[in-house]
């Protein structure tokens, strides 16, 4: 088990494996997303309360889920990288951040597009949207902290520490936002939830959640390869991989 783990965590091995897996993951996720989208837009019946508008759930929920899951992954890999000093873990954390931020934006925008027909306004300070907005700020903070360091090792450790501090803070922020919004119960604001979801409504949602996770995996591996190259471009295996064969060693 350990042996296998060490082999995987060695950069050249990871670089090779990620190069093999990434396209497979990407194509399978794209096919599944196409099926799920068809299921969500065409096959699923309209909701009896929200009508056709509920179909936004098929993109809002996967992107919200991804935005949180990616942050958790980023914090875990940062922690691993900080504790065991594994460069590869930092590389994964660094590549997860922009993907997570992009899906946070999608979650916010689709939430707003859902809010307009449901609440009559694009923005409502509802706990879910508010926490999502704060999560976006945290992603931006992480990325700009990384960008402000010239030295990649320093960026890794500083960003890693911020990610770990942030993950302790996220539940606190989430629950304080819930507490804060519970104080001013406006004229019965509906939450962005599909009420009593039925089977043919549910499967496209689950499929899309799974497929978007695969999609994230594909992009993550792709980006992590680039990050590994950045960290290793002075090492022998990269030079063997990229250079023309040097004349004599």
């Amino acid at each position: 088990m350990w042996n296998w783990f060490h082999k995987l965590a060695s950069p050249p091995h990871f670089y090779r494996l990620a190069g093999i897996f990434s396209p497979w993951l990407l194509w399978s996720s794209l096919i599944l997303i196409a099926i799920g989208t068809y299921g969500g837009l065409v096959l699923a019946p309209a909701d009896y309360q929200q009508g056709e508008g509920f179909r936004i759930i098929y993109v809002h929920v996967p992107s919200s889920y991804l935005s949180t899951m990616i942050y958790a992954l980023m914090a875990i890999t940062s922690g691993i990288g900080l504790i065991w000093r594994i460069k590869l873990a930092h590389a994964v954390a660094a590549s997860a951040a922009p993907i997570g931020a992009s899906f946070t934006v999608v979650s916010l925008l689709t939430g707003m597009l859902w809010g307009k027909p449901m609440w009559g306004t694009y923005w409502e300070w509802d706990p879910r949207l508010t926490s999502e907005l704060i999560l976006l700020f945290i992603y931006f903070g992480y990325m700009s902290l990384r960008a402000s360091f010239e030295d990649i090792g320093k960026a890794d450790r500083a960003g890693g520490l911020l990610a770990v501090v942030g993950v302790v803070n996220l539940p606190i922020i989430h629950y304080s936002v819930i507490w804060w919004s519970s104080l001013h119960q406006g004229p019965s604001i509906k939450k962005l939830d599909a009420p009593s979801i039925s089977g043919d409504m549910l499967w496209p949602l689950l499929l899309l959640i799974a497929a978007s996770t695969l999609f994230f995996g594909a992009i993550l591996l792709y980006r992590a390869r680039a990050e590994v190259l950045d960290r290793e471009h002075n090492s022998r295996w990269v030079q063997d991989l990229l250079g023309e064969r040097p004349g004599a060693g």
Binding site: K154, N169, I173, W180
Partner: protein, 224 residues
């Protein structure tokens, strides 16, 4: 020298240095007062509206004033090399940084707590609200200082770190702001505030126990 004396020595040194530079001490306070007095000028001096806005405005002004004073927290120590001495010294770095954070709060947080009631009166907050504002600021500003110390330590090696520091620290400070401002608001409208005050205290204790360690780790990263 035992740990308590080491801690006291750090705090005393910080205070002595700070009192030599009055300008740095007073400017965050003036900023606090000015931001708080901008709102009535920008809106309109209606008592009713100011009473409603007061808790939020005063808390936000306190938050921004804290943020303003954070930039210089570790900068001078890093530039003159004394931070390196602390890292290499046999005493725990977290304790030294905690001492500096305590000094920062005594110099920047405590004056805010003292000044806030005076400003609260200009916002026509009732007595309950003024007391709640002082209480929540008293519990909340140390938490802000502790959080800010981590941010200052992370950005200590970065040039032009002002905006970056705000971007890093503000999201983490939001719970304190929400509990503090809402508790003041609730108290001003005559409601019980023990709930949010307990939550603020819990945040303070959590910050107190974990964040000095995080600051120490961040300083180590920034220095090597």
């Amino acid at each position: 020298m035992n740990l308590a004396r080491f801690f006291a020595a750090i705090v005393r040194r910080e205070l002595q240095i700070a009192f030599k530079r009055w300008g740095d001490l007073v400017s965050p306070l003036m900023f606090f007062v000015m931001v708080a007095s901008l709102f009535p000028l920008a809106l309109s001096p209606q008592h009713e509206m100011l009473r409603n806005l007061g808790p939020a405005v005063l808390w936000i002004a306190a938050l921004l004033a804290t943020l303003l004073s954070l930039n210089a927290l570790f900068r001078a120590d890093i530039e003159d090399g004394s931070m390196e001495q602390l890292v290499l010294s046999p005493y725990p770095l977290a304790l030294a940084l905690f001492g500096k954070t305590v000094a920062h709060w005594l110099l920047n947080g405590l004056p805010l707590v003292v000044l806030a009631p005076a400003l609260a009166v200009t916002y026509y907050l009732p007595g309950e609200g003024v007391r709640a504002l002082s209480l929540t600021l008293l519990i909340g500003t140390p938490t802000l200082s502790l959080l800010g110390a981590v941010g200052a330590a992370l950005t200590a090696g970065v040039r032009q770190s002002g905006g970056l520091l705000a971007l890093l620290v503000l999201p983490l400070m939001l719970p304190v702001l929400m509990f503090g401002a809402r508790a003041t608001d609730l108290a001003a409208s005559g409601e019980q505030i023990s709930g949010p005050v307990y939550l603020l205290s819990a945040l303070f204790l959590l910050a107190l126990s974990l964040l000095p360690l995080a600051s120490a780790a961040a300083i180590r990263i920034s220095l090597d």
